[in-house]
Amino acid sequence: MEKEPIIEVRHMVKNFGPTRALRDVDVSFYRGEIRGLVGENGSGKSTITSIVAGMQKATSGEMFYKGEPWNPASMVDAQLHGISMVLQEANTIPNCTVAENIFAGRFNEFAKANSFLSMKKVNAAAQKLLDSFGLQRIKATDNINQYGFEDRKLIEIVRCVSDETEVFVVDETTTALSHEGRQILYKLIHRLKDENKSVIFISHDMDEILEQCTDLTVLRDGEIKGHLNRAEMDEPDSVKKIRFLMVGREIGDAYYREDYDSSHLPEVALKLDHVSFGPIKDFSLELHKGEIIGFGGLSGCGMHEIGRAAFGLEKLSEGKVTCGDREIKSCLDAIENGIGYISKNRDTEALILEGSIAENIVLPSVNALSHGTFVSPKAEKQLADGEIENFRIKCNSGKQWVNTLSGGNKQKVSFSKWTAKKSDVLIMDCPTRGVDIGVKQFMYHVIDEMKKQGKSIILISEELAELIGMADKILIMKDFEVTHEFKRDPKLSETDIIEYMI
């Protein structure tokens, strides 16, 4: 092999409690390459990079960086040694200036005797750096709250890339970026490649991967399933091949829904009637019994807000949400009228992590279970155990705490909350985010069953494949408006859709 690896990973294993995120992974990254990492959620791609970048420690296995054994103490440590990473989630500090955000970790460089700080210098340096990235429009002295999600992401990139950077990890950042932002990022990674540095690029957008990357590694269930070099990537059927590697079988094989009949019962289950709130203006929607409506778009396109509004979480300035003839003003109304909501922020909104599985499952149903003031523990247990049974939630007992569960099982719990409540309308916001493939398939099965039982579902997802696979009708949103509507169709492909998103 002519190129010497800059990072080598050998026999890496990572367990999160019962789940195994990485199983004995061997992989090497080389100078002068842009390495794409693809795989379903929970396949372990982010896990590898986060371990390399010092965010967490491997359970076992070893790493080598420039030939030396590599055990970063922290992200900072890694960054100082030249490995930096841009995270998926927002990681900026509110109420502080842009300059502070960029240099917070390195104030001492601008301080006399490591204590007397000159903000003038800091601001100047920050502005210089921003300009060098072609971000003149961002002012170092501004409060960061003035900037949107995308700009903050860019600021993060500016923060973590420096001259010392040898390895640059981009973890699903582009979904947050508009065309312009993407161009800046692409320019950056190609510059780094030309400087014979190494870039690791994680993305769900297959086309993006194929355009930008020089090499590609595919993961599934915490194992490396294959490598492709540029040549292989340029082959006509490469996409199909990659998909196969990712999913492990041909698409449509008992994974997503098989039928393509998008019919549904006539009754309207949930109605958004000329709804306006925040940036959303005059939005209307009719969800029928036995219908699955999918929402797609980039994060920040407004689809999540629609979900919240339908559940009565948003304060409407105009219009109303109705379920049958009853108006939904609060999530209490919503629940009483048989609407359930699975938030995309599972750990912070959907679940009580520091609570038992049973407590979580029962919570929405307590009202129904109580006779007078009394709530029978027996009834609670029965209900919870029933759901644990149905969803095959992997646990010792209903008493086990949710934060000891794997992502997939957590998600099962937040599903079962609503099946326990016997909800007829389910609003699912990214229901399969961070869930490993087995569970994912199970979820799709459940959703399918629900449709068959005549339940109505709003499926909001950042994964187009999922929408194409499951929804009767797909609404694509951009800038808080529906840009296009697709009917369920076997010929529908992601590329058809993406153009309406960007």
Partner: protein, 331 residues
Amino acid sequence: MKLPKKIFLSLLFPVLMFLAMWAITAANPACYVNGKFIFLGFDLVRFVITSACQSICVALAIWMQLKNGRFDFSNGAAMILTAIIAGNVGLKTGSPWITMLVAVVCGIIICAITAAVYMLGRLPIVIATIGVTLLYESLTYIIFGGGGVSTFYQNDALSIFGHLPGVLLPTALAMCIFLFYSNFTVTGRKGKILANNQAAGVNIGIWEEANVSQTGMFTGAIVGLAATIYVSQNNVLPQSSLSTAGIMFSYIVPVYMGMFIGLASNDVIGISIAAIGMAIFNYGLNCMNLGGGGWQQIIMGAFVMCFYTFSAQLNNIKALFRKNLKKEAAA
């Protein structure tokens, strides 16, 4: 915002307060002794300045922790303990300067201990500070025979930092330390970062423990100065069962007000102005023989409420204004 407007907004509260109290006292017969109106006069100035200085120092100490996202119960206890140690040393040495020096040093040490318990114990801040508060209070019963400091403040020579003009020195120092800390030090800036997003701050390489202990020491210095004034103005008795928290709360009003008033300028000025306003208010009550009585408590509570509500609802209020502006623009 233009400077004159800033000044206007900042001074609004104390001026209004002054006029209000003037009007109220003028209407109150109790404020005329032998036909003489007692509200106006040098005594007013003296009282306002001395008592305001005290509140400013304590309030700054509280605020320094609060703005770094830590509600520190132990400030009061730290101040009392420091006051007792420094006061007794002062009585032995007979020098106010040594007293202040000792106070500052003690304050720093004590707050460093607090920080240490918090860091090494890794306890939730409230619990950690309650714990050390109990500890410090218990010490007030042990050191110097549990006698507290009863005679320091009635000694002219020693208690110069409790009266005019001496009281201005520690106060000025405290304000300088605070401004310096929050504007010109790495610690202060990093503290701000941590306060706003702890996790991210740590991720991008801020050593939290170091920051906590350094901030603690700055707070300590201010606590020391507060203690110097306190022991020069009060009979310091041993405390128990978190009564020091009560002492602390009695100075917390300017903090909450300062948050709001400070929006026009900056927090230090805000707190100082709030303190002056409250001092005027208290003096007015004294003139009406309501000082320290039930009414003062009740009105003070109301103040805390209003000002905190203001600062909590500020965004909504701003939003309201913006709406109106938009409407005007549209019209």
